[in-house]
């Protein structure tokens, strides 16, 4: 017999049709430490309060239905055990996912999530130059498949979308899942729309990613969206050059280091945003420079800068996406 422990659980409850504001309801259950949070919630629903609303299905981290906030982390409830949460927080607090409107209790409206997904055209676009062989397989080499072996693992649970601070601050940002999926089509050798995809996504939000890696931390399937977004940025620069503020900043930063090896902060503002941008930042720059006069000076040139420049020559034409 596995020993049970007392598990205090606070659950977010809200029915927009009846409640003026959301509230937390506290429950206490006796459960073995390895009990999944989902099991605890279903126990509450079957034994204490049958009105608790939540989404779930497989209970095996496959369907992606039960993503929610568990002690502020975006997680699958079926994959998160109560024991470690008690150790860290002394209780389990359950909220609905962020960045999506609450329909009731722990159930959110996933409409925006799927609309953002549709924006990236999530299917292969046939390449007229290389038509798919009819009735036959269209084989890829292991190397080609290796480039995107992580992304098909995605179960579209929305945990990354919920964890994303860029999505929270800028609703036009498509979110990590859509961008990870976009990467998957961009590097698929059977897809004929690679260039259009890379051109369209740049003004469409690619450069809003903060690369905070909160998506990668929250992903239950280790899809690593933040790394795929990084790869997309490099591919986009290769395809189109530095045309957006974001790509100008990345390429400008790289060029910035070429001369001295350390960042010239003021020069970078000009590289990203041109003279107009520099003028726009001037009042703030001057305000800062009063206390931080280094801002107006060039950095020192590091010793061995010729080595750095040689690395640029040797690796200038590399395309990463590794």
């Amino acid at each position: 017999m596995v020993e049970s422990v007392a598990v205090p659980i606070s659950v977010y409850r809200y029915d927009p049709a009846r409640d003026a504001t959301p509230r937390y309801v506290d429950y206490s259950l006796d459960l073995p430490r390895h009990t999944p949070v989902l099991t605890a919630l279903l126990k509450i629903r079957s034994e204490i309060d049958s009105t608790l609303s939540l989404r779930y299905s497989c209970r095996s981290s496959i369907c992606g239905s039960c993503a929610m906030l568990i002690n502020s982390k975006s997680r699958l409830a079926c994959q998160t055990q109560v024991g470690p949460e008690l150790d860290l927080h002394g209780r389990v607090v359950v909220d609905p996912m962020r960045n999506q409107p609450v329909l009731r209790d722990l159930v959110v409206d996933q409409g925006p999530f799927w609309q953002d997904y549709e924006r990236i055209v999530p299917h292969l676009v046939p390449d007229p130059a290389h038509p798919m062989p009819e009735g036959k397989p269209n084989p890829m080499t292991p190397e080609q498949v290796d480039r995107f072996y992580e992304t098909p693992r995605c179960i579209a649970c929305g945990a990354c979308y919920s964890a994303c601070p860029a999505k929270e601050a800028d609703p036009t940002f498509p979110g990590p899942m859509a961008l990870a999926k976009l990467y998957r089509f961009v590097v698929d050798p059977r897809d004929g729309a690679r260039r259009e995809r890379l051109l369209r996504i740049q003004p469409g939000g690619l450069w809003t990613c903060l690369r905070c890696h909160l998506c990668t931390s929250s992903c239950p399937k280790d899809v690593r969206p933040s790394e795929r977004i990084r790869d997309l940025k490099e591919l986009a620069i290769h395809e189109q050059g530095a045309t957006e503020a974001g790509s100008r900043h990345a390429v400008g930063f790289k060029e910035n280091l070429h001369d001295r090896g350390l960042l010239n902060e003021m020069r970078l503002v000009r590289q990203t945003d041109g003279v107009v941008g520099l003028l726009r930042q001037a009042p703030q720059g001057l305000r800062l420079a009063r206390k931080k006069p280094e801002l107006l000076k060039k950095p020192r040139r590091i010793e061995g800068q010729d080595q750095v420049q040689k690395l640029y020559e040797l690796l200038e034409d590399e395309e990463g996406g590794a």
């Binding site: 450069w207 350390l262 206390k291 280094e294």
Partner: protein
């Protein structure tokens, strides 16, 4: 203890107060910092977006100097920590390893992946646990409520940084307690400061920074503290703009991590470069019985 000191660009330039505080604290704790005038910028998470392999090579070059000297490397910036750790991780991939090794060989350099990269927070946690640090505290930060702000790249991706729970970390709060301060727990402590898009989508970046400052304030913080000078730019240097973006007045002193350690170990505000901050730190200093002399 001897460590190769990797200050990063900002601590040598507009965030010089971080370098001042780091050197003061290291000296006090008997950590010998070895300078390497040939260290370049880490790429800051931007160069890799333009050319990943080049960025790994730049950092392999940096790491090779410490390796040759037989030293582990000390960072004082979450982003430097992240980028140098990323290089070590990426060099485990044979395709990248070969390209980088070949390029380094042409410079007469080699790197075998042995340099351990440690942020000051990790060094303090591992080598100066509370029982060792507490007796050195001459000015306990008693009464000061501090919201630790970790900075993304010190924590994530967890398998690259790999020394602390990325979403429920506690090393910074443990350190604050050892210094006598009262840590404030709030969601924003593991969130992004907005810096990576500060010059790309400024309004969004300011709003993100403002939310974290508001969050810390709402949980009772008198001050925030960060192990990352880029977070410091977002939270301190641009706090005026963050306040506009969230539509509230903000007045939150933001310390660099070694500044708080220095204050507790007896440094003067001037020695730690506190007058260089954009948001006045006096309100916090008054709580611990010291006030900055105007610089």
């Amino acid at each position: 203890m001897r460590l190769a000191y990797y200050p990063g660009c900002v601590a040598q330039e507009s965030g010089k107060e971080l370098d001042m505080a780091t050197r003061w604290v290291a000296k006090k704790l008997g950590i010998e910092l070895v300078d390497f005038p040939n260290f370049s910028c880490c790429g800051s998470g931007f160069v890799d977006e333009a050319n990943l392999v080049l960025n790994v090579a730049l950092n392999a070059r940096n790491l090779s100097f410490a390796e040759k000297a037989g030293l582990d490397l000390l960072t004082v910036c979450s982003t430097c920590q992240g980028m140098l750790s990323l290089a070590n991780k990426k060099l485990e991939l044979p395709a990248i390893r070969t390209r980088v090794d070949t390029a380094l060989a042409q410079l007469g350099l080699e790197y075998h992946g042995k340099t351990k990269v440690k942020h000051m927070l990790q060094v303090l946690t591992e080598s100066f646990p509370p029982e060792r640090l507490r007796p050195l505290v001459v000015r306990p930060l008693t009464g000061l409520k501090v919201g630790a702000f970790y900075g993304c790249h010190l924590l994530r991706p967890a398998d690259e940084l790999g020394w602390e729970n990325a979403e429920d970390p506690h090393s910074f709060e443990d350190l604050l307690k050892a210094l006598g301060a009262e840590p404030v727990m709030y969601r924003g402590r593991v969130m992004c400061c907005g810096f990576p898009i500060l010059f790309v989508k400024e309004g969004v970046a300011n709003q993100i920074a403002g939310r974290q400052v508001e969050d810390a304030a709402a949980h009772g913080a008198d001050a925030m503290a960060t192990p990352c000078p880029l977070c410091h730019i977002s939270l301190d240097s641009f706090q005026n703009k963050a306040a506009k973006a969230v539509g509230h007045k903000l007045d939150m002193p933001v310390f660099h991590l070694p500044q708080l350690v220095g204050l507790a170990l007896g440094a003067t505000p001037d020695e730690l470069g506190l007058p260089r901050h954009m948001v006045d730190t006096d309100s916090a200093l008054r709580r611990i019985g010291t006030v900055a002399v105007p610089g």
